[in-house]
């Protein structure tokens, strides 16, 4: 018998959370850890010794570069994502809804094709630099991306969405009277933002920073494509692996996740110093009307221009998909446009199979994420128990480890029968992919839900329960609707990521569940840039549709809880 019912409830909520985390995160990850301890047949720390004492210091250099790039990526993504979230959530202007949705589009970019679109856009022979060059009659292209700045640009571009989504969800939950109080006390707009709004968004910003930091630590395509020689840890892992040094790869992975977890702990500490629960008396949702009309239009213009820039890569992919293969090789600008690529694609009777697979897989995985994420987040934020930090770390590990490592872990863990897979061999079956996506995206939903849950005043839950509502009823009817914006933003991110997920897919897919990302990759490998782009376009359209539909739903929900 538990000490009392509240503890029992916490306990019951924890059971599934812990089970899932142990089975699908801890257990597989431990294998990586043990692998890293392996050397010459025995268990030693020598791999770690090597890592740090290596003569050429490449590992340390890579580690340092990774951290450096990741920190800068966090800053850059934040600098884009937070203002955009503010503009689109605080200012009303024509077309706001559409642009607000468009701002999510960068994560829709299929990863490899996306980076290539960047090269086509901004590389030395890219469209934009050459356009500028030709327009102004310059001799050299005025700028091009590449190297560290290139990585940063691509990171900022693809990752600001985490900030955008999570901060958007959190902004709506900030009691506007707090900002009013600050400006009443004489704080300028900037001060209000800096001293009140921004700190109150801390849970969201911390969450997004974590996600961005970790994903940049593990990021692969961007450093690889844009600065092949620049040493970062994720590439080192890749190279160790293709060099066959599995133990070293495991060691490097472990170190990478240790750094990520260190960052997680730092962030947790930072966030836990303060309280972010909106505990005003009553509901202070008098929406402030103080809006400077000039600012409004300036903001609107900034937002709109921003979004256009954000959508340029998508247009580039569209362009690529309309250019038949072989007609845009040495030419600066393409000259022939037709639907040849699409025609070729649609000749294949199975064209829709991967689309359908991706959708089905993503839906299954995301549904799992939704349920699991919301429960886990609730337990983490609103319940007291020992070992919270540990659970928090476990939750983030799928994001802290490179995706391929997660994939390999899963293979190792589930290509034999185990209790965690209900005595089945999962590898080679349909279910391994949704499981992989699910695991991979646990952190997304948990983090974004945390962000709004941190702001929720506990007495709302208490009120419901004192009215006789059981915990579950309370949860469904009161807590969930209030935190919906955060839940949805995480779920949407998870869904979109699942549809485009490549690194684990390639290790785990089977004939029966081959997803769209594999298809794109294969086209690319066969040098069918055009068809890959056409496929990419289909994927983008598909996700955009889902986003639009859910954003309608999301919008309605959000409005009801905000006004």
């Amino acid at each position: 018998m538990m000490k009392n019912r509240e503890h029992r409830l916490t306990f019951f909520l924890l059971i599934p959370v812990v089970l899932v985390l142990v089975a699908y995160v801890l257990y597989p990850s431990l294998r990586t850890f043990f692998e890293s301890l392996q050397s010459d047949g025995g268990l030693t720390l020598s791999n770690y010794q090597d890592f740090f004492s290596q003569e050429s210091k490449t590992n340390l250099e890579a580690l340092w570069n990774s951290v450096y790039i990741s920190v800068l990526s966090v800053v850059a993504s934040g600098l884009i994502g937070i203002p955009l979230a503010l503009i689109f959530n605080r200012y009303q202007f024509p077309g706001r809804g559409l642009f607000a949705t468009a701002a999510i589009m960068p994560i829709v970019l299929p990863s490899l094709v996306g980076v290539m679109a960047f090269m086509f856009l901004y590389g030395e022979s890219g469209l934009i630099p050459n356009l500028v060059k030709d327009l102004f009659g310059l001799k050299e292209v005025p700028f091009q991306i590449g190297g560290v700045s290139g990585i940063l640009i691509v990171h900022a571009y693809t990752m600001y969405v985490y900030f955008y989504m999570m901060v958007s969800a959190a902004i709506g939950k900030i009691d506007p009277s707090l900002e009013e109080a600050a400006s009443n006390l004489g704080a300028s707009k900037f001060k209000v933002f800096w001293k009140v709004t921004f700190p109150l968004m801390t849970p969201a910003i911390v969450g997004a920073s974590l996600l961005v930091f970790m994903i940049s630590m593990a990021s692969f395509s961007a450093p690889f494509l844009l600065a092949g020689g620049y040493r970062v840890l994720s590439l080192q892992i890749y190279f160790s692996k293709i060099n066959g040094d599995m133990e070293i790869a495991a060691t490097q992975s472990v170190i990478l996740s240790v750094v990520s977890i260190g960052f997680l702990l730092l962030m947790r500490w930072y966030q836990n110093r303060k309280d972010y629960r909106m505990a005003s008396k009553g509901i202070g949702a008098h929406r402030s009307e103080v809006k400077n009309p000039v600012m409004k239009w300036v903001m609107a213009a900034v937002g709109v221009i921003g979004v256009i820039i954000l959508l340029l890569p998508h247009f580039t992919i569209l362009l690529l998909s309309l250019v038949p293969d072989g007609t845009w090789t040495f030419q600066t600008y393409p000259s022939t446009f037709n639907f040849e690529n699409f025609r070729l694609l649609f000749e294949d009777p199975n064209i829709f199979k991967p689309l359908k697979n991706s959708l089905v897989l993503a839906v299954i995985a995301t549904a799992g994420n939704l349920v699991f994420g919301v429960i886990a987040s609730y337990v983490l934020v609103k319940r007291k128990f020992v070992g919270k930090s540990f659970i928090d770390i476990l939750v983030m590990i799928p994001w802290a480890l490179p995706a391929t490592v997660i994939g390999m872990n899963l293979v190792f863990a589930f290509n034999e029968k185990s209790i965690f897979s209900f005595g089945q061999i999962l590898v080679g079956t349909f279910w391994i992919l949704p499981l992989a996506y699910f695991i991979r995206h646990i952190p997304l939903v948990v983090r974004s839900t945390n962000a709004v849950l941190e702001q929720l005043d506990d007495s709302i839950e208490e009120a419901s329960r004192s009215l006789g509502a059981k915990w579950f009823y309370t949860f469904r009817k009161v807590i969930l609707p209030i935190i919906m914006p955060g839940v949805l933003s995480g779920t949407l991110l998870a869904f979109v990521e699942s549809v485009g997920e490549f690194p684990t897919s390639v290790l785990l897919y089977t004939i029966s569940n081959r997803p769209i990302s594999i298809e794109i990759m294969n086209q690319l490998r066969m040098f069918n840039m055009g068809q890959a782009a056409a496929y990419g376009m289909i994927q983008i359209t598909l996700i955009a549709l889902v986003l639009l539909i859910s954003n309608k739903f999301f919008g309605v929900k959000a409005e009801r809880s905000l006004t």
Partner: protein, 339 residues
């Protein structure tokens, strides 16, 4: 469980009516080739369903490795021999000696028959025909070091590329085989590095850059160059280095503990039949390994390939170390920061 089949390679033909209902192929050869052969194979052996997974050869190795305890694949078709050697060392493959073994040159199969070659890939100097005329182009490896090519060479990032690893290793090996010391080779690579404008992360980017004239030269595998030139209208052509070039062997292997061993062997035989080799050569620009294929297309018969003498064993042993050295010591850091 099926290890008993190990030495029964020759009998496959006799037992073909007992093939399993299905065969799973891992291959990087792409949709076009694979679906073509799927169709033909299924026509020939009705009742056998060919399933293929199309992915990069490195990914196949990863996958086969991680599925070691519960193999999903029967045949691994297509990868440089070095990858197979690595797989062999990790005992991921089942030896199989095909019926046409006698038609393969010694260098085209593993002594233990863990794999055998299906096509050969000579490495060449590739150039942009818009930027350079055939006379200007370097005729041999060493000419690439001429300072006039500074910032004209674009190279696929070698660590991740079997082709590039082979070329770089070969450059070291040229001296190493006599001196047993890679120093000379490293020196050569250092000079090449000085002329190299950029290391591209994937072939597409490299093609794109060479095509657009960001650089005029590269080194790459011949069949790909031909394919780009013929099929995709890229302004490319190639030169086979006069002093000789490493020729990679692409192979095929049966995966250890393959769930459908018989069908695997049938497929193994099938895709390397002379007819198949011819199709591959004509439609997909692959140079066969079998000596008994006739009527090959002109681009093969016309080119004279001077193959470099290479002990692949040494390559396999040393190349990781060499590449690591290159990565850590030769590759100049400023290459990636080009603004």
């Amino acid at each position: 469980a099926c290890n008993s089949d190990e030495k029964t390679g020759g009998e496959t033909e006799d037992k073909k009516d007992k093939l399993e209902e299905k065969i799973v192929v891992y291959s990087p050869h792409g949709k076009d080739i694979l679906s073509k052969f799927e169709k033909q194979f299924e026509e020939k052996y009705s009742g056998v369903d060919v399933e293929w997974l199309d992915m990069g050869s490195q990914e196949i190795l990863d996958r086969v490795r991680s599925e070691k305890n519960n193999p999903q694949a029967d045949v691994w078709w297509g990868a440089p021999s070095t990858s197979f050697d690595q797989a062999k060392d990790e005992s991921l493959l089942t030896p199989y000696k095909p019926s046409y073994a006698s038609n393969l040159d010694d260098s085209f199969y593993d002594p233990d028959w863990n794999w055998s070659g299906t096509s050969q890939t000579p490495e060449v100097i590739m150039y942009n025909t818009k930027e350079l005329s055939a006379d200007e182009v370097p005729k041999d490896w060493d000419e690439l070091l001429d300072p006039k090519w500074k910032d004209e060479i674009i190279i696929r990032y070698p660590l991740a590329s079997g082709t590039m690893r082979t070329i770089f290793s070969a450059m070291i090996y040229r001296d190493f085989k006599d001196s047993d010391d890679p120093a000379k080779g490293y020196e050569w690579l250092t000079k090449l590095d000085q002329n190299t404008k950029e290391y591209s992360a994937n072939p597409e980017m490299m093609y794109n850059k060479v095509a657009k004239g960001e650089g005029a030269l590269s080194v790459w595998a011949m069949p790909d160059v031909v394919m780009l030139k013929e099929n995709k209208n890229y302004p490319f052509d190639f030169v086979i280095p006069e002093s000789g070039t490493p020729v990679l062997t692409e192979g095929i292997a049966v995966v250890k503990d393959a769930p459908h061993p018989k069908a695997a062997e049938a497929f193994y035989e099938f895709v390397n039949s002379p007819e198949a080799a011819k199709i591959l050569a004509e439609e997909f620009y692959r140079i066969p390994t079998r000596s008994d294929v006739t009527d090959l297309p002109k681009w093969i018969t016309d080119t004279e390939i001077k193959s470099m003498e290479i002990d692949w064993k040494v390559f396999q042993e040393k190349s990781d170390e060499w590449m690591k050295y290159w990565d850590e010591n030769i590759k100049s850091g400023d290459k990636e920061i080009k603004e």
